[in-house]
Symmetry: C2
Subunit: 207 residues, 2 copies
């Protein structure tokens, strides 16, 4: 994969310091049914935390499955929140959400003015993603371009492995911030909680 | 109100020590519509944490509004969880849930063998509760007796005020544990997160 670096990324300034209780938001989707024709709504949860210390609030929105408006919906969810002025970084577990909804992390950064950090535990199988997109979507080229625009995931830690993609923040600051926001394992606590909320909800989708 | 102390409560043994990362669960309900005839389901969330340090899992169940089976549903929710063997205490924000669903905390303790701690920021207005029950429920006497069975809320801290009701744990141990499980303010983090999840969900109830 060709490394894509946007001009805005190059212009990112270093943070003077990365504080322990930096307010951040971790975003993840809830479970959903891949095949149901009626149930196309997928909830998305944003957990606002002071670093890894405590939760400040939880916000929620919803997407369509494979939503082509994913970036816009996340932008609106964050912008509508009273927490927005405090939040210093947005954590994501990947650039896809609610199936093949693709998040343009540079656009999300520009629209919210909040840096975006994608935390990956393994390097994505881009070949598989591209061929899945081609099979399913008429606009597969657009989706694929958006995925590529996030840039090459960079390995910042070997054991356990962590790869990062960033927008609006240097790789170094992003990794420092992740360490401040993590209590257990390698994933920031806000992302873990967002994931647990999504997972807990799945059982009740069909009630 | 007459103080009711069950015999089991008297027989509670002191904990040898109250550890910082004691596994506990905080339970709260999600928002619901008081008046809708069709929408009578209320979600309930249990946040499993290691003390105040990090979340270990989130479980979910649901009740009817004013569910007369509240104690049984919470018992089942906890018993069905893979986290159950670890959990050392159940935190509640009151003995009512999903409207006037009444939790029999001593029964919940006996059925789960996990001590129950109710954390209140103000002394309940029992007169108001009793008269509301009388107006609405044929079985108001049963509900009222269950509320009384939780025992008198005891003030354990003056500023800010905290009152506790306990089952299966001494007041002293309960208060020590609460302090270990609280990061900000007076409410254990697991209860705060459960509350945030419930609150975030409300907007989407009618979708």
């Amino acid at each position: 994969m060709v490394v894509v670096r946007s001009k805005v990324l190059e212009s990112v300034r270093q943070w003077r310091s990365v504080k322990t209780k930096t307010p951040i938001i971790g975003i993840d989707d809830g479970g959903f049914d891949r095949f149901s024709e009626e149930k196309r709504k997928v909830p998305v949860f944003g957990v606002v935390m002071k670093g890894a210390a405590y939760v400040d609030g939880i916000i929620q929105s919803q997407l369509e499955r494979d939503d082509s408006q994913a970036t816009k919906i996340l932008t609106n969810m964050i912008s509508a929140s009273s927490h927005k002025p405090q939040i210093r970084a947005i954590f994501l577990q990947g650039v896809t959400i609610a199936g093949f909804g693709i998040i343009d992390i540079h656009h999300l950064w520009r629209m919210t003015t909040i840096p975006v950090i994608v935390v990956l535990r393994k390097y994505p199988n881009y070949q598989k993603i591209q061929s899945a997109l081609e099979k399913v979507f008429d606009d597969n080229q657009v989706r694929w371009e958006t995925i590529k625009r996030a840039g090459e995931p960079i390995k910042v830690q070997k054991n356990p492995q962590i790869f990062l993609q960033t927008a609006g923040i240097s790789l170094e600051n992003a990794f420092q911030l992740i360490k401040k926001c993590t209590v257990v394992g390698t994933i920031p606590e806000a992302l873990r909680i967002a994931h647990f909320i999504g997972a807990s909800r799945f059982r009740f989708l069909n009630d």
